[in-house]
Amino acid sequence: MINYAMVIDTTACIGCGDCVVACKNENQVPAGLNRDWVVEETRGEYPHLHTEFRSERCNHCGHATCVTNCPTGASHYWKDTNIVLVAAEKCTGCKACIAACPYDARLIMHPQGYIDKCTFCHHRVDQGMDPACVSACPTGCMYFGILNDPDSQVSRLLRTRRHKTLLPETGNIPNVYYLV
């Protein structure tokens, strides 16, 4: 099994949204819908402030509740990896996966009538490339790689840098990490 992970350095992220636009182009995401988005979080009081920018998307969880809750098997793991995909031809649009996703990471409905989401650009990963958002990021604050390869850049970053995941308490085992 290959465990893919994305590592995003919030100390270098400027919240520019290039990841969002690059994804929309690469995957021809319909107008009005997004597979990824940027969150700005400001803490403190003027002038003692801390602002974090964070690019968010599907966490391609090790224990994906969307997969276990899908009644038709449309939500599934791609090959022998943790990349979660939706098979459009099996999706009835019942939205059980939306209810089951703690990250609100699924598009409610593609105009063609299926639930859509981030694929980690598996069509690019298949060719040895990074996801489109990672390749486009102008500050280079996003990294993609194999977590169960100890020599990968993502593994090395997580060994040496302070980091967090979102809502780890859900037990979903998210695979998007944030350096803080």
């Binding site: 003027y46 002038p47 402030l49 009538g113 486009a136």
Partner: protein, 727 residues
């Protein structure tokens, strides 16, 4: 980005799309790139950083545009706007065909015409102006690559006056100030050596929101290598959030801080004495001049603790000469901008960073000969002496001064060509003057891709095709590595739109000036030029970007004497040119005006998603940021009784109101200031997405401060308050 709204929208679309899903599932969509993919080399034109890129089409349809990894402007990564640039091709609101202004039943309207008819109209009016007033009475306003074709056309005709608003509304003070100090300007791309800096100081510059690509990349590289970032800004900007020290300065008092830093560097003997002795003149005058301006004095002006001023000055000195006091880009703020930029230049000189690693490198461009064509004749009269004689230190056109000389029957200028610049929102508080100029001018021609507001004043509007549909001049910038980059079209022009070179050349034919455009197709020019430097159009269509070896050193060579292009031949801490023209030869601090009761400093800036007003209507970028917000501190919001997300209007002391704009209550702004992103509040309904979305800051500027040295328009001395919609 309002994700919640997207969801609402998608819920609507979802209910419509539900049926096919229930009726037996839909077929799996094809994977991206599984169709027939083709690529073309281009250079982005969404801003003026001009990153080289590759355009991808799939089955003949636009797919994506991606940075060229060999290009030092982007290193393979386009910014948000560049990535979104592909949607400019498919924007349904583009200008489609030439139109001319006609009167019908006493009402003026635009009538679609053929290119021939448009050219006949323009040529007829140009000839009438020449007969009545002279051939030198047409001014060109331009911001973009195609502008030089019109400059050549007008020069051939006899009109040499031109202005780029990027001077008098943007970078002019810094280019003037650095020119006076070092004998040359900063240029674009800026010659900042940030990748090697160990300390970077940003004065009101919000790199990161201002997404000049390799600047952002090198800033992040420096931070990654542990550089100290010091950001001076009334707002907790994106770079402020990455800074070791954020100095939340009182708006308009930057020069006081800069003088205090000089005071500390000189009095604590922290400046680079060897560098100053070797290269600079006027040190003793400077040292005497800054004596009164100690950090305690500056505290009263700036609100910054004296200890913090000293600590940051020492941090700069510690990292010197790899310390960059960044010159900024848009620096027309308070009318004393050349003086403030001089203070920045002098600080860099004291730290020894000009010409040194981590400071400023020396630029070089490719020695690319121009295509052999006759030189346009020189001007009959010196237009600069006639219209901008008050600014002898300025060698380029000052857009607002050219407009001053276009109003009224006795005005010098009788016609305008406006290329790709929306003067209405570019030049502050200009609306009424533009209206008057439009009354007295005999000809206004606008060339653009989109129906910007300025087209409303035009006699003739000519639709240019987008950068994805045309060849332009080779990109050849003075920079670290001399590089050429090619923009080649990925699509044929939509509608009746045409490239600038074709428009200028064909119009030249109507004015009997064909000889100045001695080629049929611009590919001939590009290929000829490329062959002179050992390349070819075919090679460039393949690689997109080509680097050439440097012939000059990147930095000053240690110990070697440098001759600066100043009167003394040295770096002039004390400027002889300024002294000779009656200006302060050493930077002088002018305290800013404070807002009247109930009003706030109007601050504005950029956002990563947009390039001024030019991209608001771009469908992809509009979706990312469909409107601007006015940033208000919670304490101010409480007094004004406005809530987060609520629509208000901004009002200046003269009673001018903005479009409605949403309030963003945030700790990231000083309580005495508000902030909004520039470029919104479009008033032309032909840009259907941008129309009425957000507010325009430029229209609220009531207190324009003209820089006495370079004539630019200071835009940060205006004040606004918030008016509730129910008030």
């Amino acid at each position: 980005m309002y994700r919640r709204e997207f969801l609402k929208l998608s819920a609507l679309m979802g209910s419509a799309g539900l049926l096919p899903g229930l009726l037996g599932g839909c077929s799996a969509p094809p994977l991206p790139g599984s169709g027939e993919v083709a690529t073309r080399r281009t250079v982005c034109n969404i801003c003026f950083w001009q990153c080289a890129a590759t355009l991808y089409t799939e089955n003949g349809k636009p797919w994506k545009v991606v940075g060229n990894p060999k290009d030092p402007h982007c290193n393979g990564r386009l910014c948000t706007r560049g990535t979104g640039g592909i949607a400019s091709y498919s924007d349904p609101d583009r200008l489609r065909q030439p139109v001319i202004r006609v009167s019908r039943n006493g009402k003026q309207t635009f009538q679609p015409v053929t290119w021939e008819e448009a050219f006949d109209t323009i040529a007829g009016k140009m000839r009438a102006i020449a007969r009545e007033h002279g051939r030198d009475r047409i001014a060109l306003f331009s911001h973009g690559d195609g502008g030089k074709h019109f400059q050549r056309l007008l020069q051939a005709y006899g009109s040499h006056a031109y202005a780029h608003p990027s001077f008098a509304q943007c970078r002019g003070p810094r280019e003037t100030a650095f020119g006076l100090t070092f004998g040359e300007g900063v240029g674009s791309p800026d010659r900042t050596d940030m990748a090697n800096s160990r300390c970077i100081v940003l004065i009101g510059s919000h790199i990161g929101e201002n997404l000049h690509n390799s600047q952002v990349q090198t800033l992040m590289q420096a931070l990654d290598q542990g550089a100290t970032l010091i950001t001076v800004d009334p707002r907790f900007s994106v770079p402020a959030s990455k800074s070791r020290h954020w100095l939340p300065i009182k708006p308009g008092t930057d020069t006081a801080l800069l003088l205090a830093w000089m005071n500390v560097l000189i009095n604590e003997q922290l400046y680079d004495r060897t560098y100053v002795e070797q290269h600079c003149s006027g040190f003793d005058e400077l040292a005497r001049h800054v004596q009164p301006y100690n950090p305690e004095w500056a505290y009263l002006e700036t609100g910054l603790e004296p200890a913090l001023i000293r600590e940051t000055a020492r941090a700069m000195a510690q990292a010197a000469p790899a310390t960059l006091i960044h010159p900024g880009r848009h620096v027309t703020w308070y009318g004393d901008d050349t003086q403030r930029c001089r203070a920045i230049a002098i600080l860099n000189a004291l730290l020894g960073s000009w010409g040194r690693p981590g400071g400023f490198y020396q630029q070089e461009k490719v020695d690319l000969p121009p295509y052999p064509a006759p030189e346009p004749p020189g001007p009959e009269r010196d237009w600069k002496a006639i219209v901008q004689g008050d600014y002898p230190l300025v060698s380029t056109g000052i857009s607002n001064v050219l407009i001053d000389h276009s109003v009224g029957p006795g005005a010098f200028f009788k016609g305008w060509f406006i290329y790709a610049t929306n003067l209405i929102t570019t030049i502050p508080g200009i609306r009424s003057q533009l209206k008057q100029a439009a009354e007295s001018l005999d000809l206004i021609v606008v060339v653009d891709t989109m129906p910007a507001e300025i087209t409303g004043y035009a006699d003739v509007v000519l639709p240019e095709c987008t950068y994805l549909e045309r060849y332009d001049d080779l990109r050849n910038k003075a920079e670290r590595t001399p590089t050429l980059a090619l923009r080649s079209p990925g699509f044929s022009p939509r509608f009746e739109s045409k490239p600038a070179w074709w428009i200028a050349k064909t119009l030249a034919g109507h004015l009997d000036l064909e000889e100045y455009f001695p080629w049929q197709d611009y590919r001939e020019v590009l290929d000829w030029q490329l062959r002179q430097v050992g390349s070819s159009l075919a090679e460039m269509e393949h690689v997109g970007v080509k680097a050439f070896p440097r012939k000059t050193p990147v930095y000053f060579e240690p110990g070697k004497t440098v001759r600066f292009n100043t009167p003394s031949g040295r770096i002039e801490l004390y400027s002889q040119h300024l002294a000779g023209t009656g200006h302060d030869p050493l930077p002088k601090y002018t305290p800013p005006e404070r807002p009247p009761d109930g009003f706030f400093h109007l601050n504005y800036g950029r956002a990563a998603a947009h390039t001024f007003g030019r991209t608001i209507n771009n469908p992809l970028l509009f979706e990312l940021m469909p409107e601007n917000t006015v940033w208000v501190h919670p304490s101010a919001a409480a007094i004004l009784r406005v809530g987060n997300g609520e629509y208000v209007r901004l009002k200046n002391p003269e009673g001018t109101h903005s479009n409605r704009i949403r309030v963003r209550i945030t700790q990231r702004i000083r309580p005495d200031s508000v902030f909004l992103v520039h470029g919104f509040g479009h008033t032309d309904p032909r840009q259907r997405l941008a129309y009425g979305a957000g507010a325009d800051d430029a229209g609220l500027m009531h207190n324009i401060k003209i820089d006495p040295v370079m004539g630019g328009t200071g835009m940060r001395a205006s004040f606004v308050t918030l008016v509730r919609e129910d008030a």
